[in-house]
């Protein structure tokens, strides 16, 4: 039951805008049917009759568009152009699908575009940046060479962000700053683009929302990417040095005893030196077999010290940067859905 109710609500929500964009006028529908049957005369008659009736903006644009297609199909280009000019004035963003439109109608439409002054395809990019360090990209297309003034307006605030004579696509980079240099205040704004040629003018707008947020701070480092601490001690390889030195010391002592002994006193006693020397050689042998004690690795110690200094220095810089960032504001600019067209 609940599922059916949800489905009904969903259908109602979907069908509402669809009904607003469908042709209700019977005369216009008859004209469309005649055009679809390639009965151009009937389409012209019914289309013109429909324009004399009460139509919605959408229906009126469809009626002129139908006339434009019909005149183009009948090789009446000038009249076709006139009809398309009305379409463009009613719906400046209107574009024809080149895959579904005849080349005659397309060229008539392009000619019409160059003969009316409209601002098309006004677009503001969604962007987030730190105030003062980024820009908001605004772009639009003006169909005729004209003086184009771009403003950002919210209540009493009106900021002129660009004024230029241009034709075709225009790109503006707006830093979103007040004349004082501060970031613009948070709120809903309208980007208004006004084009003027003599008495002719056209304006269009796009609502945007500007919000403020905190600037992300940088995390402190505990290591540098790609660099790891090295062991500050290393075990030297086993060697026979202890055994060799013990043997040398013992040999020197015993040889010295033999050499220094007084010949008148008979052969010298090697018992005492032999016992101590044997103990020494045994200790040297054991030390040779034993795993050597870890020794400080001076190169690694210096490397680690350098790494610690680098990380400390970088963290100091990060702390300073974070202090600065906490005083900044992050601007988020998001375009909102457009309420209406141009005038």
């Amino acid at each position: 039951m609940r599922t059916r109710l949800s489905l009904a609500i969903l259908l109602a929500l979907v069908s509402a805008p669809c009904m607003a964009q469908t042709i209700q006028n019977a005369t216009l529908r008859r004209a469309q049917q005649a055009f679809d049957n390639l009965d151009y005369r009937q389409a012209l008659t019914a289309g013109q009759a429909a324009l004399r009736e009460r139509l919605t903006g959408y229906e009126r644009a469809r009626a002129y568009e139908l006339l434009g297609f019909t005149y183009s199909g009948m090789d009446s280009i000038l009249r076709g152009v006139d009809a398309f000019k009305q379409v463009i004035l009613l719906e400046p963003e209107r574009d024809l699908d080149p895959t579904k439109t005849s080349s005659k109608a397309l060229s008539a439409f392009q000619v019409a575009l160059t003969q009316v002054l409209v601002i098309r395809q006004l677009h503001v990019d969604s962007v987030t940046f730190v105030g003062g360090q980024g820009v908001v990209a605004v772009r639009y297309t003006v169909t005729q060479p004209a003086r184009v003034v771009t403003r950002v307006v919210s209540g009493q605030t009106s900021l002129k962000i660009d004024s230029t004579v241009a034709s075709g696509q225009v790109n503006i980079r707006w830093p979103a700053r007040l004349p004082s240099g501060d970031p613009v205040l948070a709120g809903d704004y309208n980007v208004i683009v006004e084009a003027t040629i003599g008495q002719n003018n056209f304006a269009t707008s796009l609502p945007i929302r500007i919000s403020h947020g905190a600037v992300d701070t940088l995390p402190h480092l505990t290591s540098l990417p790609g660099y790891t601490y090295l062991a500050e001690t290393e075990v030297p390889p086993k060697s026979w040095r202890p055994m060799g030195l013990a043997a040398v010391y013992t040999g020197v002592a015993l040889a010295g005893t033999a050499a220094l002994s007084n010949g008148n006193l008979g052969s010298s006693s090697m018992r005492e030196g032999g016992v101590i020397g044997a103990g020494l050689v045994l200790a040297g042998f054991v030390m040779t077999l034993k795993k050597p004690a870890p020794q400080p690795a001076r190169g690694n110690i210096l490397y680690n010290q350098l790494l610690r200094e680098q990380i400390s220095r970088r963290n100091t810089e990060i702390a300073q940067e974070n202090t600065r960032r906490r005083q900044q504001v992050a601007l988020s600019v998001v375009p909102l859905s457009r309420a209406g067209g141009g005038r």
Binding site: Y249, N264, R271, G273, I276, A283
Partner: protein, 219 residues
């Protein structure tokens, strides 16, 4: 009994608080000593065994060894001596670290024989060099050599300036994380003594070899 005593000493040392061991500049312990003594000729040949003690002190670049010993020398089988005697020796060695493995050594040795006329008592100042090397963790060895200056003998006599020499070999092994030290020490002395009873100088050399094996408590 001895095993119980050793076990008791080990247990006692193992419960020493570590703060008392933080410096470990001092050690002291008993030693078993054995030696060989010869005098004048190959006929006066003695061998002996005894006991003693040794203390060591280390402070910065300075260190000192003090050894006392008492041996009973008995006539060796290859000699003609008939009387045994006791030899008491007091040996002090002061060292100053110089560079690398080398330390300079200064000290004195005094040996007293009892009965007095069975062997020469003597005393001398010693000077020489000490070369130490760390064989491995807690294992030290040393070789030393030097001269004995100005010796005095109970029976008189003189020596030439280079006539009294000394040579030694030492080993120290730490145990129980340095609380206990096993040590071995070899000391050889040769004194080219000469006597003169009015008929001219006669050689009366003295030669002693001492071996010391001991254990010490380190603080």
């Amino acid at each position: 009994m001895l095993e119980w005593l050793i076990a008791a000493v080990v247990v006692f040392l193992s419960i020493f608080p570590t703060f008392q061991l933080s410096a470990q500049h001092f050690s002291i312990g008993p030693q078993m000593i054995f030696g060989d003594y010869r005098e004048v000729s190959a006929d006066l040949h003695y061998r002996g065994v005894g006991g003693g003690a040794m203390a060591t002190v280390t402070w910065k670049k300075l260190s000192a060894d003090v050894a006392i010993s008492k041996l009973t020398y008995k006539p060796a089988n290859d000699g003609t001596a008939t009387q045994q005697f006791d030899a008491r020796e007091f040996d002090v060695r002061l060292r100053y670290y110089v560079s690398g493995p080398i330390s300079a050594e200064l000290g004195f040795v005094n040996r007293t024989a009892k009965p007095e006329f069975e062997a020469q008592s003597m005393g001398a100042i010693t000077a020489g060099a000490h070369m130490g090397y760390l064989l491995g963790p807690g294992v030290h060895m040393a070789l030393r050599g030097g001269l004995m200056f100005g010796p005095r003998f109970s029976g008189g006599g003189t020596i030439s300036p280079l006539g009294a020499l000394r040579l030694g070999l030492g080993l120290n092994v730490d145990a129980l994380r340095g609380r206990l030290r096993f040590n071995g020490d070899y000391d050889f002395q040769r004194v080219s003594r000469k006597t003169n009873d009015g008929s001219g100088e006669l050689p009366a050399p003295i030669q002693q070899s001492l071996g010391r094996l001991g254990i010490a408590v380190a603080f």
